[in-house]
Symmetry: C2
Subunit: 470 residues, 2 copies
Amino acid sequence: MIPANLKNAFLQIVGSENYDDSTTGRLVYSYDATPQFQSMPDAVIAPRNKSEVVDIVKICNEYKIPIVPRGSGTNLCAGTCPTEGGIVLLFKHMNQILQVDEENLTVTVQPGVITLDMIQTVEAKGLFYPPDPSSMKISTIGGNINENSGGLRGLKYGVTRDYVIALEAVLPNGDIIRTGGKLAKDVAGYDLTRLLVGSEGTLGIITEATLKLIPMPETKKTILALYQDIEAAARSVSKIIANKIIPTTLEFLDQPTLQVVEDFAKIGLPTNVQAVLLIEQDGPEEVVDRDIKKIAEVCTNEKAISVQVAQSEEHAIALMTARRSALSALARLKPTTILEDATVPRSEIANMVNAINQIAEKYEVKICTFGHAGDGNLHPTCLTDSRNHDEIERVEKALEEIFQKAIELGGTITGEHGVGVMKAPYLEWKLGETGIAAMKAIKDSFDPNNIMNPGKVFAKDSKKRVVVAK
Amino acid sequence: MIPANLKNAFLQIVGSENYDDSTTGRLVYSYDATPQFQSMPDAVIAPRNKSEVVDIVKICNEYKIPIVPRGSGTNLCAGTCPTEGGIVLLFKHMNQILQVDEENLTVTVQPGVITLDMIQTVEAKGLFYPPDPSSMKISTIGGNINENSGGLRGLKYGVTRDYVIALEAVLPNGDIIRTGGKLAKDVAGYDLTRLLVGSEGTLGIITEATLKLIPMPETKKTILALYQDIEAAARSVSKIIANKIIPTTLEFLDQPTLQVVEDFAKIGLPTNVQAVLLIEQDGPEEVVDRDIKKIAEVCTNEKAISVQVAQSEEHAIALMTARRSALSALARLKPTTILEDATVPRSEIANMVNAINQIAEKYEVKICTFGHAGDGNLHPTCLTDSRNHDEIERVEKALEEIFQKAIELGGTITGEHGVGVMKAPYLEWKLGETGIAAMKAIKDSFDPNNIMNPGKVFAKDSKKRVVVAK
């Protein structure tokens, strides 16, 4: 609970309409999109500007009150669950698009801007912001930056990190720092911009960001390739890229996911095949035509049973929208949906998909797999029921073994969802003790009182790895 | 001087042939490509592998001996000048290309590999590593990573940072960390990879790196546009990009630079115009043709007095080689050449070039300007004589005013050369006290004994900014 004198101080800063410590208000922010994590904050505060953020941070730092910065809470790693209580910080007042600079190809925003609103604003000027997390309709840019969000277009265009070129942030000591600039090149000291991107709110609070834009691609086309053999689909992925074609998106859906997505979206997706690849290429028309032709050839040679180019923009949009709805569609089936994002080098996609299926069988759990095959970024999704303790235990063992397999194949425990609370116990598997120690040293140097999103990224205990019997 | 017992310990690690404390040996490594900085190291050591690096670092950390990791010493910020003595660490034995992975589009190298050797190796397989610092014929990848080197192709393709996806590094405490992987997406904890890139050897010693590659562009073309008006040239830069064309390179040379480059390269460059733009576009043939036509139109509309497409590959290469030789050509004219790299948002290029010329006039110094106009990354180059103390003083004041102007225009004190010793006193102008404090906190947390390249990035005293009279 926030002591009365501090509550008064907060009220002085933000006004009573922006401070909520009612049970209902706190309950709303006690969880995020991640299943199985819930914890009550002591208060929910919505600052109106950066100077209010500074004032709040200074009080929290002095009295060691945890701060959990939160956009729309769409993350899937319990990154904004207030596991140690304290304050949830909302950015609903700091949600302005400050400037679209058409000469320098940048957009400057406050953290509370909804990702899709920003994307539509720049697209209206013929400019393109590629990162497209599936939650972009409701996620905020601030959240995307804190989680270094990915998306479907990551293969060709990279992730949020690749587009953040300047930040303003309030550090745990109340200092405001400004990093980077509207600059294509800047090597003035350490890359604090990219250190903050993906730091999950554990190092500071982002109060403004400038993002790089690129010219809008002229056109795009979409292909749907159907397979009766998952390995053939995986091989197609490798072969397309080995043919020196980098598609915008190269998505994979397995049969169980397909079935569910079609039930949900009803756009005529085939449900009797083992896997589909949904491939989009964008760029100048001649290049798109050429690439799409070549991609179709590769898929056919790799034994796709059908290769179909979307005949209209509507059809292409319907296909992509269906893919984007995979999580929502899967979530309808069972009370609890656990979406993972183990990621491997793309050459290991077939091995990883096979391993996931074997692991699901071994633990008798239902796992549907879809994801960004071109990135090696898969989303094995467990459909379960958190009230069934026996099953949940098996689910956890299965996911653990999936992380272990990803690491064995040269991959990582999280490609785009972040560590948060959920994956913190596994982080050491990827980084080793020395890697964790180096990150912890940075955390301690920025935030000695551990007020910034405590309990995230760094686990109290790491899970021990056991070598999986082959 | 290294005490006898420690010298013995080093000899045990690397063998006598890899330890040099002779006066001649030390003299060779007492300076780098940066004029006016020289300081003797106590010894020069060439480890043969990472385990030798670890052993050396442990001794240095215990006895607080400075370590200066050095590739080919081509940096221009005195970044590898052993200003506080200690050990210069050479990577001549750690110079292998370990793997070109054509399926995952990566190359894995040791730090001592020469940049151009690596580029040629991957190009032979149809793959492309875009960062092309002008020193690439002799620079090493380790040096490029430590300095986050840029180059001519930065506008379209980004800089070294954008291609480093995994690192192995030895930290000051002797820990080995491995960051990243052959992964398009990885958000497992803080981005240590990009923190190390550009950290100028102040946080650790890179012992291995995996770099992202992209497919080789199919073709390229080059345009030379001549101007009698510098502002018209600068306007062309903005207009090309506002037309949604991002060329591979968009280089600017002013009249004095042109004159010198032509004297040196003798390829028929015009020397009677105020400025030229040298523009290259690469990609699929249809797109290159279309872009080049559009670029030529823009330049003509913006009052270029001549716009000429290179008629053969040889001519294009000759033009680009001439541009790359600008520093060498300028260096022949006067005993001392000081090359700067103040960088501004590209919309401010004309303002910056004008300011540089006014500043040169005010201080009666000779400044030639060339550089990556598309990036806003200019290289005002001062031709002077370090023995002329009066002139050097004026040169330093002029450069200081150039940095100040760059900051005023929303720019930075260094776009691609790094901070090193040379710009350390000015770093606070870009970052403010709070930014410096945040970086210093990271440095202290990694390297509490300050053994890693001490005296670089962080100055003992910051220069105070004075507002320039308009």
